[in-house]
Symmetry: C2
């Protein structure tokens, strides 16, 4: 068990994922005792006000446990703090630093790898009160935001500028966590990932020092790229309290095409040819036949879909560009034995056509039994290997009698496997996921293309990069957070 | 003077830039003495062979001094080593680490900020023998290269794959240095900068440890982004000995347009509107009226150009896309009072039309008097401020009686000022550059958009980001290179 002193709040009825434990016990004496943590909480309350801290069971539970996560542990944070400003975050950090209390950033809470769990207790810092757009520099194509701005809200609020923020992970994601995991989504094949859209960050380090990485240039070669170091560091190096993000012009026209294929291989090969030929698409998503059938079964959309491997293409730009791209994609799809091709340019009809992609995960979730679990994981491999990996992974699911589907950002070689299972099948699921991740790594891929490592993929990260990069990451972590107070136990452990 | 023991090789007749000195003297005792450095060189010679090291004056000079640089110092490296493999680089590092000898990476040597100068002596490590393309993964759209591959050669050698590497700094730049400075060029407005194209790096750390940052996924959220930390670290964290780079499909069609304007402001405002509206250009460069007149005067191209602020646009993609973009750009240019618009789609004629852009810097250089100097610097600011900064900077040149021109990657808010001067004008030039950089910083910009900090812009970096980011960079540096052996004295000093 990944727990601490007996007086800690705990979740019962949950088994913890095996990898999380023995090593972390070694770190226990290093951190404050339960009693000392409570003193820190008292100090934070005094500094920030009564309402700024909660120790309610339900709040602690929602900040240490997630139904979405592949991993949950028994321990919970001892308190949740709700700062309103960067200075208040710095005040929390100073108090926790003085008393050696772990600090865990929390924004949208949509992590699937236990990013906000509290293996050493400590204080969860929830940015819910820091959810403002601070500045819109539309002539510079950037915007200054606080960490709890949801990306979808941001786009709604700035749409009159003709600009948008193109990184599109799950709908509940917020900027802070998106920075933490270097997230992406369907638009990544055109627009890249989170790190490509960060102009500067304001970060509170573990001792309360406030750091602003840069000013607002669109590009810079001045000094180490601290933006890209904090992006993807999963809160282990500091709290992001403000971010300047680049924006892109909203495309004039868009189009959606849905193309079905006799096999995953045909679909994947076709998608890769589109990328290889440089046809300007803004998304290409693959849904396997299982997922298409789930969407039909759950009636999540207004139409009936072919239950075959399907590619969902998005196009955007000028009218001429969209039309031209569509024609090229249709021509290539025929070469790869597509057996269905539907295209829409009308905005309302586009929504209907994209609806299967949009409802895919929700349809899977809706299928879950009352006591059932979901395991949602992601890997990414070089493009030439992606269809082989999807095929093998699907076969393994079947062989183990597991029910799972595949959804992929195939233009990036990145896909998700979502498995529904009962508690008694947990071992099989873990084994199946491990095999898929190991195979991705053998194919020169990565254990996670966009979800991050968190608590759940630490051993996979080691398998992927080996010892030296982890030692280097540890050295960097230690240099910025010598007491290992920031989100400890995530990405890698303090000791082997 | 930024020099060491008297027995060091020195360049005479060169004044050193003031900022480089007193602080560095403090670091002297920390490093090996001249005699100890020579012992290290002897050891390297034994380990790598007679030919692997040179101490010839001319070789030392070319590895410690550059005509292109805004800054040169008197001291030179004590030797230049020429490793052939990553393992040989590691052997050099181990020897130098043991004896506390500074190590300075060297590839294309086209730095303008003293990146390969040797303020503490030490060994320059020239990658000239590591200039191979090791693997072309055309189906994955990536390529594995050694650090001394010139980007232009790379593109020539892989052109049959239909792919290219889109980062285009000066023609003599090589991959190692391009990684070091996070360089970019005319294509950045479409393709981004060096850091966006690095899939993984093999790096030799200061103690000889060999690190491979990742495998070959197109995207990843697994652990800290070590790629982006090493990209732009100017050789201060380790030697890059191998890089996997993303490639892009060669566009089917291209087009070039040249548009003249009555003022820099009109040109800049027009360019920004093109960006703001998301018209897919692949480059937009500004040349001021001075530069256009220099090109005419030097007869570097086969035509006569209007001597007015001029925008050079590149378009690329499908025929339809290129045609469509051109029409949109022409329409916008009229709105901004363009007084000339020329477009070419024929490849040979495109070359002629782009020739002014291509020959711009060479024409400036050719104007230089025998004993004359050139100061080439760059800054980047938010888009809305760029025309104001160019205008003010041009006025200041005139007021000081200096001769300089402006060339900018205006879509990134990034431009270069190139000043020709005599030795007696050095103080004025320094003052003029300082003013421009300070103004860029006040406008929330950066002291360098693509050249890097090197030895020349350390004080500007401090002015730009302040103390905390530099302390953070220092902490990271110390964590990976505790003895400060890797390219010391660049980006920031060990002590204030």
């Amino acid at each position: 068990m990944c727990g601490g002193a007996d007086s800690e709040p705990r979740i019962s009825n949950r088994t913890a994922y095996q990898q999380c434990h023995e090593k972390q016990k070694d770190d226990e004496p290093h951190y404050a005792s339960r009693a000392e943590m409570e003193l820190a909480v008292e100090e934070i309350r005094k500094a920030l006000g009564e309402d700024a801290v909660s120790i309610e069971d339900e709040i602690l539970h929602s900040h240490g446990y997630s139904d979405w996560s592949t991993i949950n542990i028994e321990r919970l944070p001892v308190a949740v703090a709700f700062p309103k400003t960067t200075e208040e975050v710095a005040a929390i950090a100073k108090i926790c630093h003085k008393r050696r209390v772990p600090m865990i950033p929390y924004s949208g809470g949509s992590s699937v790898e236990g990013h906000f769990s509290a293996p050493f207790g400590g204080v969860s810092v929830d940015f819910v009160n820091m959810n403002q757009i601070l500045d819109i520099h539309s002539d510079d194509l950037n915007v200054v935001v606080q960490p709890s701005v949801p990306w979808m809200d941001l786009n709604e609020k700035i749409k009159d500028t003709g600009l948008f923020f193109p990184i599109d992970p799950g709908p509940s994601a917020q900027i802070g966590g998106m920075v933490g995991t270097n997230c992406s989504g369907t638009n990544a094949v055109k627009y890249g990932t989170m790190r490509d859209w960060v102009v500067n960050l304001t970060v509170v380090l573990s001792d309360g020092t406030i750091l602003k990485t840069r000013r607002r240039p669109r590009k810079s070669s001045a000094g180490y790229n601290l933006n890209s170091l904090f992006v993807g560091s999963e809160g282990t190096l500091g709290f992001v309290t403000e971010a300047t993000l680049k924006l892109a012009p909203i495309p004039e026209h868009t189009g959606i095409a849905v193309v079905t294929f006799p096999s995953v291989k045909a679909a994947a090969t076709m998608a890769i040819e589109v990328i290889r030929r440089g046809i300007p698409i803004s998304a290409v998503e693959i849904l396997d036949e299982v997922l298409m059938s789930v969407i039909n079964r759950m009636g999540a959309t207004s139409r009936k879909w072919k239950e075959e491997p399907t590619l969902f293409f998005k196009f955007s730009g000028s009218d001429a560009l969209v039309k031209d791209s569509i024609i090229q994609v249709q021509t290539i799809s025929k070469k790869h034995h597509a057996n269905g091709f539907q295209y829409e340019s009308d905005p309302e009809k586009q929504k209907a056509l994209w609806s299967a992609r949009k409802e895919a995960l929700w349809s899977m979730m809706a299928l879950r039994e009352t006591d059932g679990h979901v395991w949602s994981t992601d890997v990414a491999v070089p493009l030439s290997r992606v269809s082989e990996l999807i095929d093998t992974s699907k076969k393994e699911l079947v062989e183990l009698g597991l029910f799972g589907s595949i959804l992929g950002h195939i233009g990036d070689g990145n896909f998700h496997e979502t498995i529904l299972f009962e508690e008694k099948q947990r071992k099989e699921v873990e084994g199946c996921v491990h095999k898929m991740v190991s195979r991705a790594i053998e194919m020169e891929g990565t254990c996670t293309g966009e979800h991050g490592v968190g608590l759940g993929k630490k051993e996979f990260l080691r398998e992927e990069v080996g010892e030296v990069p982890i030692q280097v990451m540890r050295a960097i972590k230690t240099s910025l957070d010598p007491l290992w107070l920031m989100n400890p136990g995530k990405i890698f452990d303090r000791r082997d």
